[in-house]
Symmetry: C2
Subunit: 374 residues, 2 copies
């Protein structure tokens, strides 16, 4: 197992003080220019988090986001490089991968006093707090028309290394409980910028789904003295029916109780809490399997598959030690012409009904002819 | 407090054996005709439920639903009355409110052996079971162009009485754990039939959200010896900031930690487990407040508001005694031209970010000019 820290980015500042980080492929040297746009001051602490006593979940209230950028014309894309520093969010003639603080964040980029602790909602009263945390945008490529699936292995691995860098840095902030890297791809799920990019949310709380999964894993440890997710992975690897692809270090499968018409989970074969714990070979394998799955996705239908890609990461906090890093990919497309909508059963009651058996979608993804892939 | 059993429906059968129930306003007499359509046999037990070990949630797999009716032309509406019995799902010249078993159910309409028990997922292995339960369609009116908000009070109360009838009947089935009445309204949330209608799902398990809320309420009872939802209701009623409307028996408010751009909860002021426990005055009040809220919804924007209406009901089982019947209404519309999409944070992590403060949307709904209402 080789340790790897990944490349160090070149840092610069945008006109309103937000941080921007340039990650470069070997042999490339980032060359940030001054950002000369007349940006308004950043709203400080315009975000609030509220505790829902009925469910035990935190909800973020970020009113300023109503004015965020919405489907700009291609020549005003905020993620394309801007050599003049006058047009986009990336003041540079070119770049490989770039990360910057979101101009319209769901969670404030402000830093709390060092003694900030999220209030404990124990007294039965409504509880709110300032919305500390951080929201970053990660642009996967300077090519406006690329997609993650179209990146070559080295470039995709650079994205993975950028995710690792941000995970390590953001988990080190005392107010951050969880670092969530994700990609929303496709207008069908509400994406307003077509330039290939993802987002990174550093939440001051555990997200509800993570909390549920950790609760289940803790109970499983008490009952069986094994890791829940390792047991699930071993069970899937013991037979073929829901396997999509993989190698000796990484496995991609459709989960037994998939909630979405297309859903694939990618696990490293060794339990780690997050991306920073993987060694170089495991990172290369994860990158290859991830690209393989995304390529299979785009072979399912005549058009590119809309998807959400969600990196489930955990900190090294003892309360999160049962967490098993993995990627969950899901799509709302249920046929070439139809989407799944999250209506009453799913949206109101979290009770998912799926129209597709997990085994049938696994077989379709497994049997994609490599020659047919775009 | 007056007891009320509500009207008894007239029962008939559709061509493939599904049950249909006609609920009539005073003075009206349902007159079902023979359903002469050549319908194929119903698929028996084509539904399966699977337990997700990672989250503790059940997921229903109903593959036959891929072929369900999708945006039919208005002259082929399956919910309009069909005097000839040859065209639609409702073989009658007219009707007030009708309920029938869904032709494309998410949960099988079959009845299990009397000793059926949902398997306990305790042994760490994947657990699946036949998808017992029942899915019904409720048409609110024979008028294709009506909406729930356009019904007069007596007609809306008839819908409420039909909900009560179905709740009582379905909760009496031993395989049913929860009866969920809901309405999806609007193409923006994927509604494929524009005729005003709702659905009723009788699940063999508690839905994940209900389970979470009961867990919270049980913990609150242990800590405070009071009912969690009664405390939340009292807290909201003690000040105006999130109140929308109400009367001495019913309260409508935007919850403190609302997850949706428009979200309203309607509670009876007295704790009951489900609709069948309300008395006649409470039912009239609930009906009036519900109509009032829906009318306010349609006054927010130039077009009708898409919404999901979800009736949170509990059985009289001791494990559900902390449940407090209420209605949760939510909309994805965040401005006149924009929708909220459930993307990475919400869909993958259940972590909601809202763009609208609960107090501001409550004020907008509270201040709707009655004269401006459609």
């Amino acid at each position: 197992m080789r340790e790897t820290d990944g490349p160090e980015p070149v840092r610069a500042s945008l006109a309103d003080g937000r941080e921007i980080l340039f990650f470069a492929l070997p042999g490339h040297q980032p060359d940030p220019r001054p950002d000369i746009r007349p940006l308004p001051d950043r709203a400080q602490l315009a975000s609030e988090v509220r505790f829902d006593r009925a469910t035990g979940d935190w909800v973020a209230v970020a009113a300023l986001r109503q004015d965020r950028t919405y489907k700009p014309p291609a020549d005003q894309c905020p993620l394309c490089p801007s050599a003049t520093g006058a047009v986009s969010e990336v003041p540079a003639a070119d770049y490989d991968v770039v990360v910057f603080e979101n101009r319209f964040p769901s969670l404030s980029g402000a830093r709390p006093d060092s003694d900030f602790v999220l209030p404990q909602p124990l007294d039965g009263q409504p509880v709110a707090a300032d919305g500390y945390g951080r929201c970053e945008v990660i642009s996967f490529s300077s090519d406006h028309d690329a997609s993650f699936a179209s990146l070559n292995h080295a470039h995709a691995r650079l994205v993975v290394d950028a995710w690792r860098h941000r995970t390590r840095s953001l988990l080190a902030l005392p107010e951050v409980a969880q670092v969530f890297c994700f990609e929303n791809r496709g207008e069908d799920i509400g994406v307003t910028l077509t330039h290939p990019h993802g987002q990174i949310y550093a939440y001051p709380y555990l997200t509800p789904r993570t909390r549920s999964m950790l609760d289940r894993a803790d109970a499983h440890r008490r009952d069986h003295d094994t890791n829940l997710f390792a047991d699930i992975l071993a069970s899937e690897r013991s037979q073929i029916s829901r396997i999509v692809t993989g190698d000796e270090l990484t496995t991609a499968f459709v989960p037994f109780a998939a909630r979405w018409p297309v859903e694939v989970h990618i696990y490293p074969n060794r339990q780690v809490n997050n991306l920073t714990d993987l060694d170089d070979d495991e990172l290369d394998s994860l990158t290859a399997v991830y690209l393989d799955v995304l390529t299979r996705f785009d072979s399912l239908y005549p058009t590119q598959l809309p998807y959400i890609s969600a990196l489930h990461q955990y900190s090294s906090d003892p309360a999160q030690q049962e967490g098993f890093f993995h990627i969950e990919l899901m799509s709302v497309r249920r046929s070439a012409t139809k989407l799944k909508f999250l209506a009453g059963s799913e949206s109101a009651m979290d009770a998912f009904i799926t129209d597709v058996t997990p085994e049938s979608i696994a077989a379709r993804l497994r049997d994609v002819d490599p020659a047919s892939r775009r």
